[in-house]
């Protein structure tokens, strides 16, 4: 349970970190909060030649609102998402979701950038970013590029980030005033990895649902956008029967795997349960909470 030997560099600028990354290539590993990386080192699942620590880089920190968009430095810690009034105002979905991420002592160190680049399929924040339509800024030797969240996540622990790139910031577009959100997760114990979870946004045009965007985690190799289910409800007045039909369509949207805790079949079942709960939460005025909850 002790990490293998490695060298360590603590650059104080993004340019310095990129240069170190270019110099050391595949032997290098970036360390942000370290809450997934250090366990992997302690378990000797990884043996990098050198760690490049991003904690001393001021450019990667800070939460701000620019042109109405929320900008999160990649080194923003989970605890800041939890406590920041700016985030509660501009992205309440993140403030709600973050309480489901691990435990307080992990959230004080863990960073949003580290979490997103780790791309654990059971992780909450990637699904939130896809639901919010966030954009990621990646810095590399040839400058910056911007990638939408849903194109960033490629597979299990796999992202669009190149080996010579660093995620520097996350931009969450301004939400319309009638944007609503819901976040639900099922886990055996508080702070455990989700058995399945949903992060979704929607708008209501009177009593008609618009732009419902349900994104599941722990239901496939990366955040899974449930387009089929959403298309059943978008443009219509949500009723119990429609929600049921949308939940049925999740079979076409999700591709969960079974593991020691739970079978793929049960995951789909639970995804349907939390989908119905999420929609009921999105439109409390529709009175969808009720007997349909128990029918499966």
């Amino acid at each position: 349970m002790k990490a293998p030997a490695f060298d360590y560099l603590a650059p104080t600028s993004l340019a310095g970190a990129l240069a170190a990354l270019a110099e050391h290539g595949e032997a290098a590993k970036l360390i942000a909060g370290g809450q997934s990386l250090v366990p992997a080192l302690n378990l000797r699942l990884l043996a990098p030649g050198i760690l490049i620590d991003l904690n001393g880089i001021g450019e990667l920190k800070g939460v701000s609102v620019q042109n109405g968009h929320l900008r999160l430095g990649a080194m923003t810690r989970h605890v800041e998402l939890e406590r920041s009034p700016v985030i509660r105002q501009h992205a309440p979905l993140l403030a709600e979701a973050i309480r489901h991420v691990a435990h307080p002592a992990v959230r004080t160190r863990g960073t949003i950038g580290g979490n997103l680049c780790h791309a654990d399929p059971a992780s909450e924040l990637p699904a939130c970013m896809v639901a919010l339509g966030a954009w990621f800024t990646l810095a590399g030797p040839d400058g910056e590029r911007r990638v939408p969240a849903n194109a960033f996540f490629k597979g299990v622990y796999e992202t669009d980030l190149g080996p010579d790139e660093i995620l520097t910031a996350i931009e969450v577009p301004q939400a319309g005033t009638n944007r609503r959100h819901a976040f639900l997760e099922l886990a055996r114990r508080s702070g455990d990895y989700a058995l399945v979870g949903i992060s979704c946004t929607a708008e209501m045009d009177g009593d008609i649902m618009a732009r419902l965007r349900p994104v599941f985690f722990a239901a496939g190799p990366h955040p899974m956008v449930a387009d089929h289910a959403a298309s059943v409800l978008n443009g219509r007045k949500p009723t119990a029967a429609l929600v049921q039909a949308a939940a049925a369509a999740l079979a076409d949207d999700l591709s969960p795997e079974g593991d020691l805790q739970i079978s793929a079949h049960t995951r789909i079942h639970l995804a349907r349960v939390i989908f119905r709960r999420a929609v009921a939460r999105l439109v409390p005025e529709a009175g969808l909470d009720g007997p349909q909850e128990v029918a499966a």
Binding site: A3, D7, Y8, Q35, P39, P104, A105
Partner: protein
């Protein structure tokens, strides 16, 4: 692999030493500084026994590399005990028999104190949630939650008596 010089504050004292980058803070506290109150259980961030305070926030010392603590302020159970900051929590744990083997207790106390500093009057649910990352394998959690709730009540009563 080259050891690096590290200078940081531990329980109010400046400490300077050379550390290998691979070593986590928990090991350095225990082995180099003799502060064995910080217990190592799982060493991959699951059990919470190694919880300490880093710059005023609780962290897992097994998931924090010692070299990352340059210039930081670290407080361990020894520091919190010696200053008397957690004396009432410790007494409540004893009174309520909220420990058997005691291995999880330093982490529990550090985590509970963090909650009480931020939320002086937590509900039992909030206490359970805040302690959810700290495993106890002997008593179960009921007595621990009791002890934290009793401490919160005691501090609140003391606060209002003083006011």
């Amino acid at each position: 692999m080259t050891p690096r010089p590290l200078s940081f504050m531990v329980n109010g004292e400046t400490v300077r030493l050379l550390v290998d980058p691979r070593r986590h803070l928990g090991d350095v506290l225990r082995e180099d500084l003799g502060l064995t109150g910080t217990h190592l259980g799982c060493e991959h961030g699951v059990c919470g026994a190694c919880t300490i305070r880093l710059d005023g926030e609780i962290v897992r010392s097994c998931l924090t590399l010692a070299v990352q603590c340059e210039g930081a302020r670290v407080e361990t159970i020894e520091g919190l005990s010696d200053s008397g900051e957690v004396a009432d929590l410790q007494e409540a744990f004893r009174n309520r028999n909220a420990l058997q083997c005691g291995y999880c207790t330093p982490g529990m106390i550090v985590t509970a104190q963090d909650l009480l500093l931020r939320h002086p009057e937590p509900t039992r649910e909030e206490i359970r949630e805040h302690l959810s990352g700290n495993y106890c394998r002997c008593t179960g959690y009921h007595a621990i939650v009791d002890a934290v709730a009793a401490t919160a009540a005691g501090r609140t009563a003391k606060g209002s008596a003083a006011a």
